[in-house]
């Protein structure tokens, strides 16, 4: 039996009802219809194909689920209010179900657009049209096709040429009911412009299952710089899948951090395509799986231009009957000489029932390149544990110090202090450090 089966809720009727409900322009309606065709033409992924091997696909199933619609309650949850108060983001938008339940931002820089995708389609249609589906589209996977056909709302950020947005912006995505949730973020940073953006996914537990399928499209024009954080801390009744892909122009720079802490199962596909010479992509990842969570991450560094630099560092800890899967790919095209590409995955196994699969890969077609990849998986070093305990630290405190220390290499490169603090607090709460609650 296939793990995934077709879902009658994903239909031409569903597409047409979105098109008419929002009176969408013809070009978008056509894109959606084409996306639905691409969806139907693609087989469901199976664990027999290389990309999905080791993915517990059943946990990303959406068969039998309806498309998620309006939330039960359109107020902003206390959890989100507290997160906003404690976030680096100075301008925020809050998505709940298919509704925007909050949007507050005073951006002093001229010409910056930061709004939901619906409003952007109304007020900046040409800008949206010029970039939507360029980076994440229906041709990629069954899940990106699903998203491309049926997304209802999302976040749009546009930073004009030479503008540096000083304060970080962010979107919080939450839910209070189940179904198929679809999220989309489109970020366009023009020539020599700069932005910091945080996408956070979080919720209080609710009864039904939510399958959330997110698409994050990032366009970095020549010389553009973006710091981007994707922080996933859903409640355990959620399965989360996200393709987060960036296209980088000449001398553009991306610094991204992908954090997986919550949900029952989460897959993050984090991809950079270096299209302009001298572009740089740094992709960090951090995860901590416990109580049977399944975290699955795929990274792609595609060097399609000479003199690109890319660095991937994904680190995570696993315990209980949890599983972390990492697979990474570096592709260097034949003409992409003078490429520098590095890929590292390190895992900490906190007990014997946790499991890690790590598969770093290279496909190098150029000859003048510097590339390396490495992967390690192992338990907490016993000599370190003994050292800490010999100073009086109780075993659980020593373990916390060691896990924090292990993740530090990534954390120390997260330049947003409140993100770093929050992640550390969630990790501590997961470890059961006495006196530490997640404090949302």
């Amino acid at each position: 039996m296939a793990a995934l089966t077709d879902n009658p809720a994903v239909s031409a009727d569903a597409v047409e009802s979105i098109v008419s409900a929002y009176r969408e322009p013809a070009w978008l309606a056509d894109e959606r219809r084409a996306a639905l065709r691409a969806y139907s033409d693609q087989p469901f992924p199976t664990e027999k194909t290389e990309e999905w091997r080791y993915t517990q696909l059943k946990r990303f199933s959406f068969s039998g689920l309806e498309l998620a619609k309006a939330p039960k309650d359109e107020s902003v949850p206390e959890r989100i209010r507290m997160r906003i108060a404690d976030s680096d983001a100075e301008g925020v938008i809050v998505h709940k179900g298919n509704k925007v339940v909050m949007h507050q931002a005073t951006i002093k820089e001229a010409g910056v657009v930061f709004t939901d995708l619906r409003t952007a389609l109304r007020d900046h249609e040409a800008l949206v049209r010029a970039h939507l589906y360029d980076v994440v589209n229906a041709r990629q996977t069954k899940y990106t096709a699903l998203n491309s056909a049926l997304w209802e709302n999302g976040t749009f950020v546009y930073v004009p040429r030479d503008v540096e947005v000083e304060l970080p912006l962010g979107a919080f995505t939450t839910a209070d009911s189940g179904g198929i949730g679809l999220g989309r973020t489109l970020i366009v940073v023009e020539v020599n412009a700069r932005l910091t953006f945080i996408d956070e996914y979080t919720s209080e537990p609710f009864a039904e299952r939510l399958f959330f399928d997110a698409a994050t499209e990032i366009v970095l024009k020549d010389g553009a710089k973006l710091r981007y954080v994707s922080l996933q801390n859903w409640s355990r009744n959620v399965a989360h899948i996200n393709k987060l892909r960036a296209h980088l122009g000449r001398d553009a720079r991306l610094e991204s951090v992908t954090v997986s802490l919550g949900a029952d199962a989460a897959r993050a596909e984090v991809e950079s395509r270096l299209e302009g010479p001298g572009s740089e992509s740094e992709m960090l990842g951090l995860y901590f799986a416990d109580e049977g969570q399944h975290f699955n991450q795929f990274t792609l560094q595609h060097h399609a231009t000479p003199r690109g630099f890319s660095d991937v560092l994904f680190k995570g800890a696993v315990r209980d009957a949890s599983q972390a899967v990492y697979s990474g790919m570096i592709i260097v095209d034949p003409h992409a000489q003078k490429t520098d590409a590095y890929q590292t995955n390190r895992n900490l196994l906190l007990d014997e029932v946790a499991e890690v699969v790590s598969i770093p890969q290279l496909e190098i077609a150029a000859n003048d390149v510097k590339c390396s990849h490495g992967s390690t998986t192992g338990p907490v070093p016993e000599d370190q544990r003994f050292y800490l305990m010999s100073r009086g630290l109780r075993p659980e405190v020593a373990e916390h110090v060691l896990v924090t220390g292990f993740l530090y290499e990534v954390m120390s490169r997260v330049t947003l202090p409140k993100v770093a603090e929050y992640v550390e607090r969630v990790v501590q709460a997961k470890l059961g450090v006495p006196g530490v609650k997640e404090k949302l």
């Binding site: 070093p381 016993e382 000599d383 370190q384 003994f386 050292y387 800490l388 305990m389 010999s390 100073r391 009086g392 630290l393 109780r394 075993p395 405190v397 020593a398 110090v401 060691l402 924090t404 220390g405 292990f406 993740l407 530090y408 290499e409 954390m411 120390s412 006495p434 006196g435």
Partner: protein, 253 residues
Amino acid sequence: MSDKQLEIRGLRARIVGGEEILKGVDLVVPRGEVHALMGPNGSGKSTLAKVIAGDPQYEITAGDIVLEGQSILEMEPDERAREGLYLAFQYPVEVPGVSIANFLRLALNARREEGDEIGVMEFYKKLQRAVKELNWDDSIIERNLHEGFSGGEKKRSEILQLLVLEPRYAILDETDSGLDVDALKVVSQGVNAARGPNFGALVITHYQRLLNHIVPDRVHVMVNGRIVREGPKELAMELDQKGYEWIREAVGA
């Protein structure tokens, strides 16, 4: 016989599932005294130190370790530490991502009741006093535990921790090796500052030059997993001059 002592009785220990290293060690360090432990490379000094601290890579097959009248054999390393034992490691490990200050705060709080954590001001005062005692720069406490430390800096850190944690019994495993002459003086001053009626120490060293600074009350000599000789401080000087061969011959080891 006083209870105020650290006593090792007929201790035999081996690497878990492996070779026996300690072959019946007898040794007493009364509180208030500083003893030296000397012996050739590989004789088992560090093993004894780690076994006393509770290193899980060794298992004890016979004998006992008694701290002020109480056997500590069944205690985990953290419990032993909270009972007042301290080991300055011959090879201090690096722990990334935790600053010396944060680490020592955790270590001090581990010795206190929940809800009675040490105050921030009190803690920093204590820490800064110790840093000053060692002629060290204040910025050291913000560095990650031994990450990128030189050999000598690691040794200094071990003494800094000792000064802050104020154990009743300390074992210093070759804290002098890797130290330059000035640092040796500073570190010795640190140990001498801790000296007093409520502090006992076992100082493991190969060199008389340390014992010129930290003058021992007694000297023990270990050869091949046993204490083969015990004597006053002059014994150390004799070893310094003559080496270990004569002792090996004398005890037939």
